[in-house]
């Protein structure tokens, strides 16, 4: 059954024929192939994001403010180099034994599903958890209804490419009133290959409750491209905890968009650890469409060597009494650069809304750079909104105190940086995830 193509074939390049071939081999419904082709056309039409227009191209003016500070890195980036491998799993992947402390899990290696599991009692309640590819065959109507409705391919060039070539990713459907007591985990590993496009759909029906954890790792030394789109639909009264650790290798270009649509009384809690990649960009968006909806966004990042980390949070308050809180904390060492754009928009209809945003950056080297653009846009006067940013170094008083207690300077510094992230880590109710975040941060500080 396995269909293997040799992706190292030099003649292979990105083209409409390749996309058709992928779709055919994956036995996708006709409409998906059409969507892919449509996205491909958008990809071809869109220019690379650039924020400064050039005189000679005035007619083709494409002004993308949100790519300022990052678009300069695209000059040497040739997207057509990143051809995804057309090899994928047998559809009848056997299920492995349940891991403890998880409601279910999915492991994908180089975009192929290696294992997948979901507790039987949840299955019986109607929970669906599978790879998106399987879901497309088993539940085409559900996928069709939600796929790329929240994040359309026209978003930007990378998202369009994603729409044309998506391969990995998960599908999670939780029916009304079902609560998952233990987290679900999806782990993605990359050992070889050039391009990975993960798409995850999460549908939380009314009054359901989900904790979902995503984990990205790679040990490949090849230059690779990874895009990710996560679309989360929260119906009335539902609650989703979405945690993620991105720990790609230092040759990977990574573009991710995670967006949630919130109906009345629903809550999304994002906690994202953003660590890896040569150039990594992530966007964490909440559309608060229903009244009393709430969004909590927490991001931790740590940059080292010549990493460029670009973090965006966008919170749109579109209904009454909505609430959002955003906290971004990061450390930078070596030549690393961070860019943070945090946007809060409060619509005219969103009276009695409350929004708060802040960023704290610790610069741990002389060569690190940090850019921050928090923005507030407010169209209603019955609201409270505020933001704050602060960029500083390790506090001398704290350092002095710890050293006076007998710690060596390096150890004291390490302790302070770890303590800096701790308030966010402690927000996670799952103990082994807290340990995971802590060990990654410790590792990043030391190396």
């Amino acid at each position: 059954m396995a269909n293997n193509y040799n992706s190292s074939d030099d003649k292979m390049s990105l083209s409409i024929n390749l996309i058709k071939e992928i779709s055919r081999l994956r036995k996708e419904p006709e409409w998906m192939m059409e969507k892919r082709i449509k996205a491909w056309k958008i990809f071809e039409d869109l220019p690379m994001p650039q924020w400064r227009y050039f005189e000679e191209e005035k007619s083709k003016l494409h002004y993308a403010e949100e790519w300022k500070y990052t678009s300069q890195y695209f000059s040497g980036l040739n997207l057509s180099k990143f051809v995804p491998s057309i090899e994928f799993e047998d559809l009848s992947t056997k299920e492995l034994k349940e891991k403890r402390k998880r409601s279910g899990f999915l492991v994908q290696k180089n975009s192929r599903t290696v294992s997948i599991a979901l507790k039987d009692d949840l299955k019986n309640k109607g929970v669906i958890f599978s790879s998106l590819r399987t879901a497309l065959i088993d539940y085409p109507e559900l996928v069709k209804k939600y796929f790329m409705e929240l994040v359309p391919p026209s978003e930007d060039k990378f998202t369009a490419l994603h729409g044309a070539l998506w391969n990995g990713g998960a599908f999670l459907y939780v029916p009304s009133d079902v609560e998952l007591n233990l987290p679900l985990q999806s782990s993605y590993y990359v050992t070889s290959g050039k391009a990975f496009f993960n798409h995850t759909l999460i549908i939380a029906e009314p009054n359901s409750s989900i904790t979902y954890f995503e984990d990205y790792k790679s040990n490949s030394q090849e230059q690779a491209l990874h895009t990710e789109v996560v679309e989360i639909y929260l119906k009335k009264g539902s609650k989703v905890n979405f945690y993620a650790i991105q720990d790609w290798g230092n040759k990977i270009y990574n573009f991710s968009i995670r967006r949630s649509l919130l109906d009345n009384d629903s809550i999304i809690n994002y906690i994202i650890g953003f660590f890896g990649g040569k150039l990594s960009r992530t966007s964490l968006d909440s559309l608060l469409k229903g009244s009393n909806a709430k969004s909590n966004n927490f991001v931790m990042f740590f940059g080292r060597e010549n990493q460029h980390l670009d973090i965006n949070t966008n919170t749109f308050h579109e209904a009454k009494n909505t609430n959002s809180q955003t906290l971004v904390k990061g450390g930078l060492k070596d030549d690393a650069t961070s860019v943070y754009r945090g946007k809060i928009k409060i619509d005219r209809e969103a009276s009695r809304s409350d929004a708060n945003l802040s960023e704290r950056v610790l610069l741990l080297s002389d060569k690190a750079h940090s850019y921050a653009v928090p923005s507030l846009e407010i169209e209603n006067n019955e609201v409270k909104a505020g933001h704050g940013i602060a960029v500083s170094q390790i506090d001398d008083d704290q350092l002095f105190y710890l050293m006076s207690r007998g710690l060596k300077r390096v150890d004291a510094e390490k302790l302070i940086v770890q303590g800096f992230f701790e308030p966010i880590i402690q927000l996670m109710p799952v103990n082994d995830l807290r340990l995971k975040f802590q060990s990654i941060i410790r590792d990043r500080i030391e190396r």
């Binding site: 403010e65 750079h369 850019y371 407010i378 006067n381 019955e382 602060a390 170094q393």
Partner: protein, 470 residues
């Protein structure tokens, strides 16, 4: 005092004045217009060359695509230069009656009589009235209009006019300004001279569809001090006018400059300015501004802290009422160690006005130990108004650097309102009092007359608000 409700005659601030001029260019901008302006002013050749070069830059730059909508701004309909009938008068009595009346309404002679050292008024594109106390002249202080300075102090103007501070290539409107500039103040303060009284100028735009492009240069030599105040106003016309001034401030070692401006253009004016200060070692520049008028404002005064220990302080109050879209902000660019900057921006939006803050804090390599604090507060008076805050922070140096930014937006606190009303104030008075408290930190720094005028204008806008709160 709050119960003494002031009666405000709005027309006072938008007085129309009969048109008197001896020369004006055809509407629209061509190379010919620029040559005409230059020859009408009898300018030296080098200035014409600079104008033409700026014009080339203007043509090559695209219109900004961010910020407010500028699509209604039609360069072909604007008269770029108007020369009023009267030449500079050196005493108040020499001015013609109607111009005097206008200034009377604006309250200028009162200031002059009371305490001002020098005062100039720019009517249309030319300076018509200016006076400088004799003792200042004896100290070596130069306070004149920039046109005169071109002729009398060409070496100074050549060195400082749109060279390192605001070159024409800075932005499209600076380039336009470089091509058609006219009037403005030129101030030179010699080393270690402290100008004891504020220097003041008032700009008036009286014509419809007019462009005003005044150029102000302040040079404060080592150890000197100067306090400069400008006010702007224009009667209201239906056609849009354009104001695009440039202010260049040179604060040398240990010098101190305070620049205060109160802008109350009528609501048909596009106000697109470029203002910047270069601050050397231990120099201090203070920007204090209140912007009330204009249809569209884009104004981001900049401080370039390039000497060790330099300081900048920006205090702004902005008010956006009906039909106004205003963007203000501060640009702090730091390249020297142990510098500091503080920005406080307060904005009030009412009756559907849009007021925004767009600022930049850029800390370059080598700016060890610099500290920047930015604070933006917005008060939204009703649900149809809009406020936004977009600060850019670019930090390229990490040693002992502290950068912080805070912003807050919201409405008048109902508890405060309730308290004041329980003490016997009516709603309007209570609101006015709260607003006054909100802008207090900046009001304190304004000269008394300006504070009064600004207070009245804000009260006027608040009185227009629909009755109930929130």
């Amino acid at each position: 005092m709050a119960s003494d409700k002031m009666i405000i005659d709005e027309s006072k601030y938008e007085a129309k004045i009969p048109v008197r001029y001896v020369f004006k260019t055809e509407p629209g901008l061509t190379e010919r217009t620029i040559r005409e302006i230059s020859s009408e002013k009898n300018e030296p050749d080098w200035m014409l060359k600079r104008r033409l070069k700026s014009f080339e830059i203007f043509k090559s730059k695209p219109m900004p695509t961010w910020g407010p909508d500028l699509s209604e701004l039609d360069f072909d309909k604007i008269t770029f230069y108007i020369k009023p009938e009267e030449r500079k008068a050196s005493s108040w009595e020499e001015l013609p009656q109607d111009i005097r009346e206008t200034f009377d309404r604006l309250g200028i002679p009162e200031y002059e009589r009371r305490f001002l050292g020098g005062s100039g008024a720019m009517y249309e594109s030319e300076v018509v009235y200016s006076k400088l106390k004799k003792e200042l002249r004896e100290m070596g202080v130069i306070f004149t209009d920039t046109d005169t300075a071109v002729k009398e102090y060409p070496e100074l103007v050549k060195e400082y006019f749109m060279t390192e501070c605001v070159p024409p290539s800075d932005n499209k409107f600076a380039a336009l300004h470089g091509a058609v500039w006219s009037g403005g103040s030129f101030i030179y303060v010699p080393p270690y001279v402290k100008v004891p009284v504020p220097l003041q100028i008032y700009f008036v735009m009286a014509q419809e569809a007019e462009g005003q492009f005044e150029h102000t240069i302040i040079i404060a030599e080592e150890g000197s001090e100067v306090n400069y105040i400008e006010g702007c106003s224009a009667p209201r016309y239906s056609k849009s006018s354009l104001h695009s001034g440039v202010v260049e401030i040179f604060t040398k070692k240990n010098a101190r400059v305070r620049y205060t401006s109160i802008q109350n253009w009528s609501k048909s004016i596009y106000n697109l300015n470029t203002k910047r200060a270069l601050v050397d070692e231990n120099g201090v520049v203070e920007w204090i501004s209140g912007t009330m008028g204009s249809k569209v404002t884009m104004l981001y005064p900049g401080s370039v802290l390039r000497g060790k220990g330099a300081r900048a302080e920006h205090l702004t109050i902005g008010f956006a009422g009906k039909g106004q879209y205003k963007e203000g902000g501060a640009k702090i660019m730091i390249s020297a160690p142990y510098t500091s900057a503080k920005v406080i921006a307060k904005s009030i939006c009412a009756n559907g006005g849009v007021m925004g803050y767009r600022g930049l804090v850029k800390i370059n390599k080598g700016a060890v130990g610099s500290k920047v604090n930015v604070r933006c507060d917005a008060l939204l008076m009703d649900s149809s108004s809009k406020s936004f805050t977009i600060p850019y922070n670019e930090i390229n140096e990490s040693k002992e650097v502290i950068v912080s930014h805070e912003a807050f937006a919201g409405k008048i606190d109902e508890n405060h309102l309730f308290y004041l009303m329980s003490r016997g104030l009516n709603e309007e008075e209570a609101k006015a009092l709260i607003v006054r408290g909100f802008i207090e930190p900046i009001m304190k720094k304004l000269p008394f007359e300006y504070a009064v005028e600004l207070n009245r204008l804000i009260e006027l806008e608040i009185s227009k608000l629909p009755g109930a709160v929130g």
